[in-house]
Structure formats: C-alpha cells, structure tokens
C-alpha cells in the first residue's frame, strides 16, 4: 500500500485554505473576521512549509505570524473605532481600475510561474534547523546584527509614537 496520493491532496487542501483566506481578508467588511481569517491563512501557510520539509520555518511562522502579529493587529483593531457600513471600507472609483490592473499583471505571471518550474519535487524530510543555524550565524552574521538594530529602531519608534500621545492626553486631562 502506498500513500503517494496523500501529498497532492494535502497540498490542494492547504492551497485552497491559503487562497480562500487571502481573498476573504480582501473582501470581508468586518475587520475582526478579516484578522482571524488572516491567521487562518498563516496557519495554512505553515502547513505548506511543513509539506516542503521546512518544519522550523513553519514553527517560526506560527510563532511570529499567528502568535504575535495577529494579536498585535487585533490590538490595533480594538484601539480604533471602525465604521461598520460596508461601502465605507472600499475605495469607490479605484476598485474596477485596480481589479483590471492586478488581473493584467497577475494572470501572465501566475501562468508563467506554473509552467516554468516543473521537474523534481522539493526535498521533504525536515531537520532544517542545523542548516539554518549555520547559515544565519556564519554567512549572515552581519544581517543578523542589522536585524537587531532594525528591531531596536522599530521599538523606539513605536514607543515614541504611542508615548507622545499619552503625554498629550495626560496634559489635556490636567487642563480640563
């Protein structure tokens, strides 16, 4: 008995999940629903990484995207009041224009990409962590340090942006 049919089936299910989630994020009016479906897309994407044999990347994907970024975005949704009327969420004039533009660029690229990369399957098997660690800490040591500087800049910038407002608000409260 062989289980060769499993991989294409799993791939098909995951790709439907990824694309349906992505389309839902674009189409849905309710932001919380969009955020949750974005998390769903990320989870399906993690499944694809597992299918490709990149288990470490899949774990990082869930850790960063589902665990951190989605929560951050949900926080952002909660701190802003959004309009619930459906038409308020879309540009009115640009919509057909954008659709035509994206379709014109996307369709050829998708077709070319699909047809040009046939051939041997990716190598599953997992165990990509040692290779990853070696690359990051030897060849990519400098980008690695730059990454920390980038994170520091993001941290400082975001704190400045949110803190300034807190002080202003506190000052306003004191004046009142």
């Amino acid at each position: 008995m062989t289980f060769d049919f499993v991989e294409p089936v799993v791939f098909a299910v995951l790709s439907i999940g990824v694309i349906a989630g992505g389309v839902a994020v674009v189409m849905l009016n309710r932001i919380t629903a969009a955020a949750l479906l974005m998390a769903f897309t990320f989870l399906s994407m993690a499944g694809m990484f597992v299918l490709l044999g990149a288990e470490t990347i899949a774990a990082f994907q869930v850790l960063i995207y589902v665990g951190a970024i989605t929560v951050l975005i949900l926080y952002g949704v909660m701190f802003t009041k959004f309009s619930t009327s459906p038409r308020a969420l879309f540009f009115q004039k640009q919509t057909p224009l954008a659709a035509v533009f994206v379709a014109a660029v996307a369709v050829p690229i998708v077709i070319v990409a699909t047809l040009s990369f046939t051939g041997a399957p990716p190598r599953p098997g997992g165990g990509d962590l040692p290779a990853l660690a070696t690359s990051v800490f030897t060849d990519f040591a400098f980008p690695f340090e730059i990454a920390s500087v980038l994170l520091l800049a993001a941290m400082v910038g975001a704190i400045v942006l949110t803190k300034r407002d807190d002080q202003e608000e506190a000052a306003a409260r004191r004046r009142r």
Partner: protein, 121 residues
C-alpha cells in the same frame, strides 16, 4: 511513509481530535440543556448595572506597548532557538554575535523602561 510526514500527521490528528471533542461536548450540552431565552436573560452582564452602549470602542494605547515589546522579543527568540541547538559548533563567534544581538535589544528594553512605557496604569 517517512517518519517526518507521519509525525505531522499525528500533530494534525491531535488538532482534529480536539476540535471534534469540543464540538461533541457542546452538542451534547445542546441536546440535554434547556433553552428558554428571554430578553432580559440575553442582555449583556455588567455587574448588575444597566448595560450601557457597546463595548467595542477605544481603549488606551498603553496596552499596545506591551504587545509591541512582545513581538520584538518573540522575533529575538526565533534567532535564539537555532543558536541554542548549534552553539557548541558555532563556538565563540556565535556567542559574541548573540551577546551583541541581545545587548542591542536590551538597550531597547532599557529605553522603554526609562520612557516609563513598562508601567501599566
């Protein structure tokens, strides 16, 4: 099937069993439990006070700083795990890199501390 695929089939099976289990429990409860909804019963519970307005609105942004710091340190962690597994073969160079990395992020933590962003009002 290779061992690798099998492991993740197991992981997936655990998730599916969890979902099925929750659904079963809730269905069982739905079959057994009475359902007599009244208008008063379905009102939002606000400690016995009259509920006023919706809860969805603006909340102060100091919550946000913690989420932000969490994201930054979470990203730090994804570098620490590969390093922790291989740090014996990476040797002193890897250790120095990671210490510099942690050091730069600790500067950010110190900045948040001094900016009074680590206080929850």
């Amino acid at each position: 099937m290779p061992d690798y695929s099998l492991s993740y089939v197991y992981v997936f099976a655990f998730f599916v069993v969890g979902a099925i289990f929750v659904t079963l429990l809730l269905t069982l409860s739905r079959l057994v439990a009475p359902r007599k909804a009244t208008k008063e019963k379905l009102r939002t519970y606000e400690s016995g006070e009259e509920p006023t307005g919706q809860a969805w609105g603006r909340y102060p942004t100091h919550f946000y700083v913690f989420a932000l710091l969490f994201v930054v340190f979470d990203v730090e962690v994804i570098f620490l795990f590969p390093w922790a597994v291989l740090f014996r073969s990476l040797g002193v160079a890897g250790l120095v890199e990671v210490i510099v990395f942690i050091g730069i992020l600790v500067v950010g933590l110190y900045y948040a501390w001094k900016k009074d962003a680590l206080n929850w009002y």
